[in-house]
């Protein structure tokens, strides 16, 4: 049975102006226009741009919309409109029920007041009544795990403690609609997991709008994805993994390779990944657990072919994840007219879903002197249905051990 729609956004658009002065002028015009009952126009005035254009979606109770997109895509603007901080220029937003927003943790905190006093400050700002806070103050302190320090001024808290206290107050709300903006990025892992558990408990009764750059987090809780790109809807739907792939793909454009070391003996010409899936975009896509076959061409002017190659795989945050065995001899190298070709195969690559890049390093096989290094010179994407946090998803078989004696 479909549950009630709590958030409904129809044809939403919002214009912003690049210059503050013009922006204020337009603001005043619009205000006066509103008062006189004038309809707004679709045209952009000088220096204006669409921060959001024609956004449509709805979220029902028990659903979670993952709002993703790159910096400046309009995610925060959309959240502010949902929260009623900014009025839309076009379209209509209908919010049914009490709205809670985890946008700024610890709003209203005063550093020289104690944790307990600040629970009341923060709670009042978030819209609690005094009785509600009185009732919840103990569970807030327990959730934040700072009972020992609760009567100490907040300025002496560590930043992690402040975040915990802020989240604990906000997490005690029982909202019909909850907006979360990137606040879970802080805090240690244990607390993040606790936050997720709390979100899981309130989710069945809540319509959740969740903004994050962490795709594992998004895939963990979102039931549908809205991907924004420069204010426009790039993707919307309940195929969460498809939306996430699109996000990673979009991430790649403009990621240029950089040669960090080059002594002139050798230069990278091209890299090709074989065994790839058909793709509409430039980014080669490889299925999880399929063979990784990469062909690399170099230009070389040197007669010396004592090259040894290192290929390093990094994830999209540029953390090295794995490297391949180096060539032990130069016999497999194919050299023709100043061209050198190298083909490497790795069976059943079990990297987890996501975007990875290859860095290539060349050194002299005997002296081990570096010759060439190019970072992130080639990107590829691993396709899989499951999203995991870890960079490797290793194949596993579960077997019955007959010799076991338990």
């Amino acid at each position: 049975m479909d549950r009630e729609v709590l958030v409904k956004v129809e044809g939403l658009s919002k214009k912003f102006s690049k210059s503050l002065k013009k922006s204020l002028k337009y603001g005043v015009y619009d205000l006066l226009g509103n008062l006189r009952g004038k309809k707004s126009s679709d045209e952009l005035r000088p220096d204006e741009f669409y921060a959001l254009q024609d956004i449509n979606f709805e979220v029902r109770r028990g659903e979670c919309l993952g709002l993703i997109g790159h910096n400046g895509a309009g995610k925060s603007t959309l959240l502010k409109i949902l929260n009623g901080l900014i009025n839309p220029d076009h379209g209509k937003v209908t919010m049914r029920g009490r709205v809670g927003a985890l946008i700024e943790l610890g709003a209203g905190f005063n550093p020289i007041m104690t944790g307990r006093e600040n629970i009341y400050n923060n709670g009042a700002v978030l819209g609690f009544s005094k009785e509600e806070i009185d009732r919840k103050v103990e569970s807030i302190i327990d959730f934040a795990e700072i009972r020992e320090f609760i009567d100490m001024p907040v300025q002496n808290y560590s930043s992690g403690m402040k975040v915990r206290l802020g989240f604990s107050v906000a997490a005690q709300m029982e909202p019909d609609i909850l907006l979360i903006d990137e606040v879970l990025a802080v805090g240690d892992l244990g607390f993040v997991l606790k936050c997720f558990k709390q979100i899981d408990t309130i989710l069945p009764n809540t319509a959740l709008v969740f903004v994050s750059h962490s795709m594992p987090m998004v895939s963990r809780i979102a039931t549908q994805i809205l991907m924004l790109d420069s204010g426009k809807t790039k993707f919307i739907g309940s195929q969460v993994s498809q939306g996430i792939d699109l996000y990673y793909e979009r991430f790649q454009t403009g990621n240029e390779s950089n040669i960090v070391f080059d002594d002139g003996q050798i230069a990278l010409d091209s890299v090709t990944l074989l065994n790839v899936e058909n793709s509409l975009t430039d980014l080669p896509k490889l299925n999880w657990n399929s063979d990784f076959i990469i062909k690399i061409k170099f230009n070389t002017s040197s007669d010396n072919i004592n090259f040894q190659f290192t290929l390093i795989i990094s994830d999209k945050e540029q953390r090295p994840v794995a490297s391949f065995l180096r060539n032990s001899s130069t016999q497999q190298l194919l050299i023709k007219k100043n061209k050198l070709e190298l083909t490497l195969r790795h069976k059943n690559l079990q990297l987890s879903k996501g975007i990875y890049s290859i860095s290539i390093a060349v050194r002299d096989i005997k002296t081990k002197q570096p010759i060439y290094r190019s970072n992130s010179c080639f990107n590829f994407q691993i396709i899989n249905t499951d999203q995991v946090w870890e960079p490797m998803l290793l194949n596993a078989e579960y077997i019955v051990d007959n010799s076991s004696t338990i």
Binding site: L6, V28, N87, V93, G97, A107, G108, V125
Partner: protein, 281 residues
């Protein structure tokens, strides 16, 4: 249970009466938030200060002392005030400082709350109400001080003292309305706050704060026109049990100020989100 539904869209039927109604509704609904913000500010202000509330009196009292000195040393020759001069000056400067506070309060409080306003959707009226709470807190100490002076100078309070809460409220409402009207502009240009504070320093001398209205001359005309004159005079006369002056002017002012206050609230309510949006976007 019926869920509260909020619709955000470009408002094209903003009616003044509806706005006033929702503004007053939010003013009433945000009592707890306003009180919490006010206690937060008061506590944090005094927790880091040894003299605490005394600072609220230092400026008005020092002005008063200057004038007591000028008058008693014969440097300036002032007309008779009808009560001991120090008492007259103390009342004048304390009332004047309250008026100043109420003019400055909406702007300074809104600026202070900019961070919260741009992140969390709270009723904007809570900011004003918390400012009013803070002013009433400070004023109560000023009132106690005045009562102390009354006893000190052995002036017997008259029955008119009972009217004081009412006339004092009109003084505050007038100041706050003025402050609300300048707040949108003051948020945009810091010059506004500076200009107001300098301007009011001069205006104090064309208002009967430290001396009575002269018998004749240009100052008499200006003082009689100045709308701040009845606000200060009537309040002080009520406190000291002097004859009422400017009662009609005060009455008209009170009648005018109530609609002005409501309209100022509406302007504030409508304009602040527009300004905040521009600063935070």
């Amino acid at each position: 249970m019926e869920l509260e539904t909020k619709i955000y869209e470009r408002g094209n039927s903003l009616s003044i009466s509806k706005l006033i109604k929702s503004s007053l509704g939010d003013l009433y609904g945000s009592r707890f938030l306003a009180r919490q913000l006010a206690t937060r500010d008061i506590k944090s202000q005094y927790r880091q200060s040894l003299l605490g509330i005394v600072w609220a009196f230092i400026a008005p009292l020092s002005t008063a002392f200057v004038w007591i000195f000028l008058s008693s040393s014969g440097t300036v020759d002032l007309e008779d005030t009808g009560v001991p001069y120090p008492l007259y000056v103390f009342c004048g400067t304390l009332l004047w400082s309250t008026l100043l506070d109420s003019i400055n309060m909406p702007l300074s409080n809104t600026n202070g709350a900019k961070g919260i306003l741009s992140k969390i959707n709270i009723p904007k009226e809570a900011i004003i109400l918390s400012g009013l709470y803070k002013m009433l807190f400070n004023s109560s100490f000023k009132f106690i001080l005045i009562v102390f002076f009354l006893f000190f100078y052995e002036v017997v309070p008259s029955w008119s003292l009972l009217l004081f809460p009412c006339t004092f409220l009109i003084l505050i409402i007038s100041g706050v309305s003025l402050g609300l009207l300048i707040t949108p502009l003051g948020m945009l240009y810091t010059d506004v706050a500076t200009f107001i504070s300098y301007g009011l320093r001069f205006i104090m001398y064309v208002t009967p704060v430290v001396y009575v209205i002269p018998e004749s001359g240009i100052l008499k005309t200006i003082m009689e026109i100045n709308p701040l004159t009845p606000l200060i005079l009537v309040n002080r006369n009520v406190l000291l049990g002097l004859d009422f002056q400017f009662l009609t002017y005060f009455g008209i002012l009170a009648l005018v100020m109530i609609p002005v206050f409501l309209i100022a609230l509406v302007i504030y309510r409508v304009s602040i989100p527009v300004i905040i949006e521009r600063f935070s976007a």
